[in-house]
């Protein structure tokens, strides 16, 4: 009894003053790190809601100056952004569905101990992670398949990520007991039936994780589209963003009175901020809701391949 009291007393032991100072320093440093992350983002959002003239004359810090929706109205008129948005939604949706199906098809047999070809296919898959043909042979292949300038050039080359297959395989291996596989087989359950009746329902959380990985990848990628597409009608959002944000190409026809060069310049400056906000908003809104799945994904992925 006395020991417990002593233990409790220890638990409540007062922090020494040097510890308190250290804790305060920690809190402050973390707050600073948070600010370093937040300040650029706040500046972007504030600028997007400011009057273009204020933006262009460098008056905006962290809060909107002369609140205005002018930039957003300009974005609404910017057709290529919306074309890109539509294409990206298409690539993300169709691409992710294809990715997840193929990944599951690959991960399931690799997780089954009764499958004789398991080791061989695992090696085949793993080797693609440490060696590849590279950019030019990949490009020549897409050209040879006559997929240049088609949606397939965006969807097919990245159809399956070896990393995602491996985390899915590991998840199935560690979370679905091997006895279940054996019992099912003894009872005459075929692999296909076992997959649909047992593995799929028990793998919901890993499916959520890889779905999000693939979807974010599609939403953010520009590289395949940049290499393989010429037709602007097929461009994903990121390629139009590259034109506007990185190469500063700007379609001035959307501005009401393009006579005044200064007005055009100001609105072009301000437009970039609202475009950044519009392009990033969907992910930023969804992330806090699904954060725990992503974190789980990192943890599953850290189990060695």
């Amino acid at each position: 009894m006395k020991q417990i009291e002593k233990f409790n007393a220890n638990k409540k032991m007062k922090k020494s003053s040097s510890d308190r100072i250290f804790l305060n320093i920690c809190t402050v440093v973390l707050a600073l790190l948070m600010l370093i992350v937040l300040i650029p983002l706040l500046n972007i959002v504030a600028s997007s809601f400011s009057d273009p003239k204020a933006v262009s004359s460098g008056k905006v810090w962290l809060f909107p100056v002369d609140f205005s929706l002018k930039s957003y109205k300009n974005v609404l008129k910017y057709d290529s952004v919306w074309l890109g948005y539509r294409n990206t939604i298409f690539y993300t949706f169709v691409g992710t569905v294809m990715n997840v199906i193929v990944t599951l098809l690959c991960a399931f047999p690799l997780s089954q101990h009764s499958f004789a070809g398991r080791k061989f296919v695992n090696k085949l898959l793993f080797f693609t992670m440490i060696f590849s043909g590279g950019m030019i042979p990949g490009y020549l292949l897409v050209k040879q398949l006559k997929m240049l300038n088609s949606i397939w050039a965006v969807l097919l080359p990245g159809l399956m990520s070896a990393y995602n297959v491996i985390i899915t395989r590991n998840y199935i291996e560690t979370n679905i007991p091997r006895e279940l596989e054996e019992a099912a087989r003894v009872d005459g359950c075929s692999p296909a039936k076992y997959f649909t009746n047992f593995v799929l329902p028990l793998s919901k959380s890993i499916i959520a994780v890889i779905t999000m990985y693939y979807a974010v990848g599609h939403w953010n990628s520009y590289f395949n589209a940049f290499l393989y597409l010429n037709d602007r009608d097929l461009y994903p959002l990121q390629l139009f963003l590259r034109d506007i944000l990185v190469n500063s190409k700007f379609d001035s026809s959307i501005i009401d009175d393009p006579e005044m060069a200064q007005v055009v310049q100001a609105q072009a400056d301000a437009l970039k901020y609202s475009i950044i906000v519009i392009a990033t908003l969907p992910l930023m809104c969804v992330y806090p809701l699904v954060q725990k799945h992503f974190v789980k994904g990192v943890m599953i992925g850290s189990v060695k391949g």
Partner: protein
Amino acid sequence: MLQKIKRALKRDWQYWLFLALPLAYLIIFAYYPMLGVQIAFRDFTAKGGIWNSKWVGVKHFLKFFESYQFKRVISNTFILSVYGQIMATMIPVIFALLLNCVENERYKKVVQTIVTLPHFISVVVLVGILRQIFNSRVGLYGVAYEALTGQYPVDIFGLTGSFRHLHVWSGIWQNFGWNAIIYIAALSGVDTNLHEAARIDGASRLQRVRHIDLPHIKPTIIILVIMNIGHIMSVGFEKAFLLQNDLNKQTSELISTYVYQMGLVNSDYSYATAIGLFNSVINLILVLVTNKVSQHVSETSLW
């Protein structure tokens, strides 16, 4: 033997059916391009293609080794990568250790959520944000500089010396929170009794960080460092290409951007493939060697 394979196929045919699509993908999009690298040893022509263009041996490799770009792209890639990886290892570790010291759970959660957010920004938008923030006329940097010194700063994107810092620190800004997740999780597994005992013995919080927390995540750090060493010569194309311009090429021309420039801009397919293959082989060797070393040193293997 044949009989055995037949029996296995008969028993496993459903598994192979599952694998039909994935294997087709791997063969077409991963293994076939590996055969395509033979054009590094040929003079590629559209008519001859991968199989029938004229065989020229190691001509393109020699051309690369002798070109003035060789030293430049190798050292640029190496320096950028080492610089980036040192920072990208240290800062998440420090952040995770600090976060772990704080006892207020809600504060911890808010901090972690916020610093993880930028991870989901696309590389195009990230470079777009950089260009806006560091714009010398309208950006936060330009405005602050002007407010302090009364004049506008020079354009940071045109400076040869700034490319590496922009590349590395924008990566840190975007990913330190994300990269810290694994350490934070590892730290939550520290035995609380250890802390209790050390505290009773009079160890300060800082001492406990050094002697309890840090050793606890050391194996994780070592594994990640080893994995990174294997990838030291493979800096991605995407961000470097977006940050590259005619003024900073002296530091921003990397192996990957040079391959793109030679292959897809100048259409010198064979030469570009040779450079790419040289790079892939180095990467492969590095991964294999570091894995062997880590098996010896820490008895952890990556596969």
